[in-house]
Subunit: 138 residues, 2 copies
């Protein structure tokens, strides 16, 4: 987990208590947290941290490629620390639970040139939607 902190320091990050706490929250927990949840957990470790700092720090982590932004619903963005292995998401339509999944195949290859309309296509996001076992049982 200090891997992440090391990498950040290596990139010239000025290391502050706030940034360390945000990085630790994400690094210690491989789930998909909203900015607000990150803030709540950060506050538990460092009560005086502000919302703006959490947003700033998350934005910086995303820009550095250490964390992915995931927008699976209309509500809050979520932050996915699993940025180093390409993956897609499977979302429960009822409770919003998110799992990382690794489909076979390459969806980029499925878009023929005739369907690209002159765009330079750079990436693709795939979101599978369904109902998780818990919700199905209930």
């Amino acid at each position: 987990m200090s891997d992440l902190l090391e990498r950040l320091r290596g990139r010239g990050w000025r290391m502050t208590a706030q940034r360390r706490v945000v990085a630790e929250v994400l690094d210690g927990d491989h789930v998909h947290l909203t900015a607000d949840e990150v803030h709540a957990r950060a506050v538990a470790k460092l009560p005086e941290i502000s919302r703006a700092t959490v947003y700033n720090t998350l934005g910086e982590l995303v820009a550095l490629g250490e964390v992915l932004e995931v927008a699976t619903d209309r509500r809050a963005k979520r932050y996915d620390p699993n940025a180093h292995r390409p993956h897609q998401h499977l979302v429960c339509a009822r409770c919003g639970a998110i799992r990382d999944v690794h489909p076979s195949g390459n969806p980029l290859a499925d878009l023929p040139a005739s369907e690209r309309f002159g765009f330079t296509v750079e990436g693709v996001e795939v979101t599978y939607r369904g109902v998780c076992p818990n919700c199905a049982a209930a």
Copy 2:
């Protein structure tokens, strides 16, 4: 275009001026409008229509399957009247322009059972991201 109105009436929709106007806005224009843009166009036809009504009506159209919600960015949801032909979206990372595209292949089939974690998978959304010709030229 009265097709849509007919279908809605057949489903027991109470036809009001407001609903007709919202349906016409979407039906007449095969682009991807935000709720606010729909409201603006509806106001042009019926000045006293309220924002809440536009949201309600869009929500009902989505529930009836006549219109798709598209959440391609963190900002406003967009509404896609092209609900009857399955398709995916290609989004410009700079200007936000959206094109409907029809990839070959079936991404649902690319998710093996071992990657479904007990979920009942019901659908999949694919969003291609790139740069449109206009933005690339600029």
